[in-house]
Symmetry: C2
């Protein structure tokens, strides 16, 4: 939906903005130019003065920084500028998607320059709540979670197949070396998780939020465990069940289309990869209770989640348009899952650079399939997803987002690894005889 | 200081304790026996009914648990029983030290049986504060910290030399395998820390709480860095300076007898091994500020500390008699150091079983030198330290205490290891040519 654009210079800034023009610029045209210059300068100052000149619809170029410009920001109409000035975090994404702002130059370099200086990411949760009245209505209650997950994950398996790896793993991969392929890295990630959990043949594993089912299949196939996997995305569960049948693993893996909060039974291990971001910190006590209830006396678990260095909300645009209800936790916030139940945290690994690399692969494949994506959706969708993938890549690269893998066990459980050495020794699955089969 | 013991059966339990004696036991002696039985049963129930029969001064044996007894608890006088009933956590240590209670059988097996069932370790910080009016007066202000540290660390280097390793490292070791010697394991711990910090020759390191100086010397000698090390224990600093001179490293290592809060300068790395336990959670914001101020743009750090699965206080006896002011944090509490300053936590490793093993070595050496320790101090000191070492060993073994090594870096710092593989590859210092020299 496009907003009407006014062609009258100066109109949009009347009523509120007061500017004393210098003597020599008393014509209305000059006043507007000076005012526009001041508005843009203010806006750029608010986002930390990245080395990015701004070019307006009328050709006016404003550069508030003497550094080497990595790209230029083109603002195509006055209404777009007003929106950017009022809330750049929310409106940049909307206006970029609608082609009302454009980045001239490399989008990743532009985002890198902006993310490195923009102080918005230092805004605390409390401040943000005041600014975001919609926030509460999107909470992850049982029905809210289902609606939120449907928004992102049920837009078509065909779409995700265009740019994910062949196993459809839509979470951070683990690259044994940075040049590994995405396929090898997703396989290595699943092994890394299984080995951290020290899965033994015959054990029972419960998975909360199983995506298209790849990890559950991997655990059953290569580690000989039985898996009960929960997911509230109908499209993902249908796909996962089909794959389990095709691989003859439907006796070992049960996919349940339900909320993890309805989980039942006792298990040796709990695993959740890429679900916690959607749970919401206010539900962590409940999540911990469910894990506590689900695990037997020898139980242990692993949670893999996007995280933050300190509590804050996802940027407004991503939260509103891409991932409704998403709320990555800080490590202290994550501890609210474990501490009330006397779980021991055994290991935390931060893999943020691996997520940046994963997103490089996804973005590359997305761009390679750009014509197909445009046919499936439209130009606005393409631009929104390009910005989401590129923005996430940049956030992981510049340290604005983290990826935490947290391994935990019951307090008195001494069947824990003596050191982490074993995780770094060659083993059969990714480096040996199994590898060729996959 | 011994408390007067009353020899009058029944007196100590009058005024508050009401017991309806059965018909056949109406003599005062019988009443007292039944009442004693009930008191002991109550006390044992309160600590979770460990499989430990209790034997009283008069030969009465009370067993509230049918399990296999691992040891018997002998209570030598009525006053001791009353104290145990009123506050077993505080008084067990005092009475054990004074030989008014005795463990008949293996002390470690006794403690293991008790710690596994005793619900006291589930007591929250809030509840404990109410019970511990002395707590506030022992806080770690600049002067309080100095007094508290003096209490434990300045009781004589000669004493610690009897049972620590040759380098006088009084923190959890890292055993590459469980059978490694204590000497090898302390060396491996120092290397593990240095490698996690990725120290490079010529860099400047600041150490907060340096003990007898071994890590600072190790970093300077094998990693070529310059070290500024803070400690408020006068005896430790004197010893450390002497060793630095003896090894010709006094140009590379500066030991400063001062509180870390007075730290000045800019450094490439911050390291603190075994100090955080003495800082107190209320000072973590300040600690984080000091780290933030001390680290340059490429800065990173490591904090190695005893920790807990959830916030609670050290047991009252240890806090009062062994480690005044000690307050190990939960992981969520530790995050109060990092989160306000946008530090990224890169790695957390829980080494609790390594601390249990370290304490086994210390306890063994302590017992081997028991005559010498008794000459230096007295029987009460010997028993208090035996209980402290054995109790700590048991807490780490049964999951009541944790040992966290937390590695962190500035948020935008991308000079971080791609994986942790490098930590598990052979290197020159503990496995190669350097090893023979140490």
């Amino acid at each position: 939906m496009r907003h009407e654009q006014t062609g009258f210079p100066g109109k949009a800034i009347s009523g509120g903005f007061h500017y004393s023009a210098p003597e020599q610029s008393k014509t209305p045209g000059n006043m507007a130019t000076a005012a526009l210059r001041m508005l843009v300068t203010e806006m750029m100052r608010a986002i930390g003065n990245p080395p990015v000149p701004v070019v307006l619809w009328n050709g006016l170029e404003i550069s508030s920084n003497d550094g080497n410009a990595v790209a230029r920001l083109l603002i195509r109409d006055r209404g777009a500028l007003m929106k950017l000035v009022s809330d750049p975090e929310l409106y940049f994404g909307e206006l970029y998607s609608a082609q009302r702002v454009e980045v001239q130059g490399n989008l990743l370099e532009f985002l890198d320059a902006v993310y490195r200086v923009w102080p918005q990411h230092r805004q605390s949760t409390t401040e943000k709540n005041l600014l975001s009245p919609l926030f509460d209505s999107r909470r992850n209650s049982l029905s809210g979670a289902r609606r939120n997950i449907h928004h992102h994950y049920d837009i078509g398996n065909d779409f995700y197949q265009l740019w994910l790896d062949e196993r459809m793993v839509y979470t951070c991969a683990y690259f044994p070396d940075p040049d590994a392929s995405l396929e090898v890295a997703q396989l290595a990630k699943m092994d890394h998780v299984c080995r951290k959990l020290r899965l033994q043949p015959g054990e029972a594993v419960v998975e909360a939020g199983c995506g298209w089912g790849a990890l559950a299949l991997h655990m059953a196939k290569y580690y000989g465990v039985s898996v009960t996997a929960y997911n509230i995305s109908g499209e993902q569960v249908a796909y996962a069940r089909q794959r389990a049948r095709a691989e003859g693993l439907d006796g070992k893996v049960e996919y349940i289309e339900d909320d993890f909060r309805n989980m039942r039974g006792k298990f040796d291990a709990f695993v959740s990869v890429g679900m916690l971001e959607h749970v919401g910190t206010e539900h962590y006590l409940e999540l911990g209770q469910i894990i506590d209830y689900s695990l037997n006396g020898n139980g242990r678990g692993l949670i893999h989640s996007i995280g933050l260095n300190f509590p804050r909300h996802m940027d407004t645009w991503t939260e509103r348009h891409i991932f409704p209800g998403a709320c990555p936790p800080s490590l202290a916030q994550m501890m609210a899952i474990f501490e009330p139940h006397d779980f021991s945290v055994l290991d935390v690994e931060n893999l943020r650079l691996h997520y940046a690399r994963t997103l490089e692969h996804w973005l590359h494949r997305f761009e390679e399939n750009i014509e197909r994506v445009t046919e499936m959706f439209d130009q606005e969708f393409v631009r929104a997803w390009r910005l989401y993938l590129a923005g996430s890549l940049t956030a992981f690269k510049t340290g604005g987002m983290q990826l935490f893998q947290v391994t935990f066990a019951r307090a008195g459980q001494n069947q824990i690894p003596w050191t982490r050495q074993y995780l770094y020794e060659p083993h059969g699955i990714t480096s040996g005889e199994h590898h060729g089969k996959l």
